[in-house]
Each structure stands twice: as C-alpha cells, then as structure tokens.
Symmetry: C2
Subunit: 226 residues, 2 copies
C-alpha cells in the first residue's frame, strides 16, 4: 500500500522504516523537506539528524506534507500532537478526503512544565479534533499507548503478549488498520468504539509516563488481562 | 488491624467483607447508620439494600463516619468520588490525622451524561485533593483501576497475573498498603511515585469504561507487560 507518514521525529521514522520493511511504498512528509534534510545537529530530544536516518532508509521518499498526503492511500499522523492539526492542514483537505488517517499522536502540553498535561482532554481528544477538522477522512486512533519501538515490534516486550487499541467511527477503516497492526506482530487488538473513545486512549499517557519513570524504561506495554 | 471502610456501596461492601475475611477488625462508615440499615429497596445502581449485605456480614460493624474513622487505624475511602471530600470531612480531621487513607475512589462526573468525565482531572486529582484537605493524613491512591471483585480477589482474572498501582507521598504508608494488597493476592504492585501520580491512575478510568463496553464484562485488569 502507498502510505504517507507525516512527521520526521523518532516515531515517524520508526513507523516509516517498519512499513517500508514490510513492503509498503512509504513516503515521509515534513513541512520543508530541504530544511529537514539540511539539519546536521541532533534535535532538542537528542534525536540524530534526519539525513542520517534517511541515508540508512533510502527506500523511503521524503516530501512536503501536501505531496506526501497526495501520494498516500493511507496517512499516518506521527507529528507532535501540538502541531498535528497544522500539519494535517498543510497536507490539504482534498489530499485526506476519503482516506484513513491513522492517528498515533498524543496531545502532550509542556506549557506548564513537567510532567506534561494533555490538551485537549477529558471531554475531547486530538483524535476527535482531527475527525471534526477533516470530516471526509476516516480517523483511527491507535498505537499512542506505547513507545515507538514497541509499536512496530511488539515481540520486544513479553513476547508480544500485550494489547493495542483502536478507536474510530468507520468499521472498514478500523479493520484496515487492524491488518496493519497485525503486520507489525500485534495479536490482541481491542476495538474501543467510536472516535470519542480516543479520549480514553489518550488519557493513559499520564500513567504511561509515571510507569516509564518507575520502570526506568519505555519498553513496556499495557496488556488487558481477562 | 482496625480498619474503617467509608462507603456502603458495592465497593465499600466488597472491601469491608474481604478485609474482615482476612481477620481484620472492620467497621464500615456511613453518614447515617440508621437510615442506611433501614433501606429496603435496591439503590439506583441496582445494588441490594445494605441490611441484606450486613445480615450476611455481621462481623463488620456499622457506624457513623466519625465513629468509624475514630476507631480505624487505617481508613479506606470507598465513597462515591463526588462525595469523598464531604464524607472525609464528616469523618473528622482529628480522626484522620497521622493515619493512612487508602483512597480507592474515582472522581467520576455524571453531570454531562454518559460516559462520565473526570473532575478533577489532568492537572489535579481526587487523591491530591484529599491529601491537601487532610495534610496530616497519609493518602495512598490504589485499586481504583479495577472492578471491586478483582480488587479483593485478583485471581479471578488471568490467575492474578496483572498489576495494581500505588501513589502517595509517604513511603511507609505505601509499604503498609502494599502489604494489604498482597493479602488480597496482588503480586505485581507498581509504585508510581508521589500523590501527583494519582492523576495518571485516575485518568485510566475513561479507557477502563470503554474496555468494559468492548469486553462486556468488568472482570479484567491492566497488566504492565515488560
């Protein structure tokens, strides 16, 4: 499948590389490809310059948001949650219409310091904001409850014996995303319901961050024991 | 240990009965014991009248909030989250001072209809509100992330192979609560950190409610796979 991954940070790179490794035709979208490729210093999070990653993943095309989205049959939102609506707007409403947006971002708000809070939260979610902003797209919230390495290689943790969630209004879109998740190796996919259930998926981030602190690693995941 | 369980709903009854079964000296606190015992109809949630439960659990004393808290060495807040601060105020600040408050309530807000939202949320929590209101008590948030039957009998789900969290400012209080949890059969207790980490524990409620809907049962629990 032709897949556009929006976002060149650690999450976008991890997802794009894994999808390409599974044989998908992947383009990674960014605001300004020339600027992204020209950076030679690690970013604020210590992530290596994009060009280094791209040299090792030359099969993944790099394009401006709109060109990437225009090419993609499925769009992955792997941008920073605070910038997701702007990135998708730059991708262009016509380039998203009728397509699945697999939204894996979290609306973390660092404006009040650490630990981050969420915005929106409780009676709204980023997943719903995206669905409202692009009503002709089919938004599926998923994968935001685990770290990037576990998203694409669940067997890294407890042999893959844990759970991933999907939320969205379109049953066919959730089925297609579930197939992609199974391609990564996920075995337990729980359908939480319509896109309003993205509130619940996003609101696990605060405990995720505390568990990360308690365990000293992000390489864990929630399993729904039953 | 002498334990006061505040709250006569399903959660309070389940905890009180289980603690008594473990040999603790348990008193259950309510606003007006005579009124609680006089009810003959199921409540709004369909829970049987308290007197029926009490007849089958005669070893558990029933007392007004203040009398129960005065007797208890450890206080369990099993009241409705919206009424917890009022119930604890009725229990009386001097009766809580220096004691552990094991807070298992969730601040569910049904004022906007279903599904409930949380209040407080995100930058505050019920656990923190209680700690601020009763600074001489040692609040430990725990057990709020699972249904009552699983709180006291974790082996009901996946042979007990799942996780319970504790949050609180006092290491000794968390250790004492952890011992109680192990008495119920919990094997994996993760210390999330200080009482501000109760935000994370309370914010899993929205996804808990959606998983309940998806699975058709509340008899599940979160396991942190790692």
């Amino acid at each position: 499948m032709k897949i556009a991954v929006l976002g060149t940070g650690m999450v976008g790179r991890t997802i794009a590389g894994a999808l390409a490794g599974l044989g998908h035709d992947v383009v990674i979208g960014t605001r300004d490809p020339q600027a992204t490729l020209a950076r030679t210093e690690p970013d604020m999070m210590g992530t290596a310059p994009f060009a280094e990653w791209h040299a090792a993943n030359a099969g993944v095309d790099v394009a401006a948001f709109a060109d990437a989205a225009s090419d993609g049959e499925l769009i992955v939102n792997a941008t920073n949650g605070a910038g997701s609506l702007a990135a998708l707007a730059a991708a262009g409403t016509p380039n998203l219409a009728g397509k699945i947006i697999m939204d894996i971002a979290n609306p973390l708000d660092f404006s009040q310091g650490m630990p981050p809070s969420l915005n929106p939260v409780n009676t709204d979610s980023l997943g719903e904001e995206i669905q409202r902003s692009f009503p002709e797209a089919k938004v599926v919230k998923t994968l935001n409850t685990m770290t990037a390495s576990v998203m694409v290689d669940p067997a890294r943790v407890a042999g893959g014996d844990h759970t991933v969630f999907v939320s969205g209004d379109d049953a066919g879109a959730k089925a297609a995303v579930t197939e992609l998740l199974k391609g990564f190796g996920h075995r337990d996919v729980i359908d939480l319901g319509d896109i309003t259930s993205a509130r619940g998926a996003e609101m696990v981030l605060p405990i995720w961050l505390r568990i990360w602190g308690a365990l000293g690693t992000g390489e864990f995941n929630f399993k729904i024991a039953r």
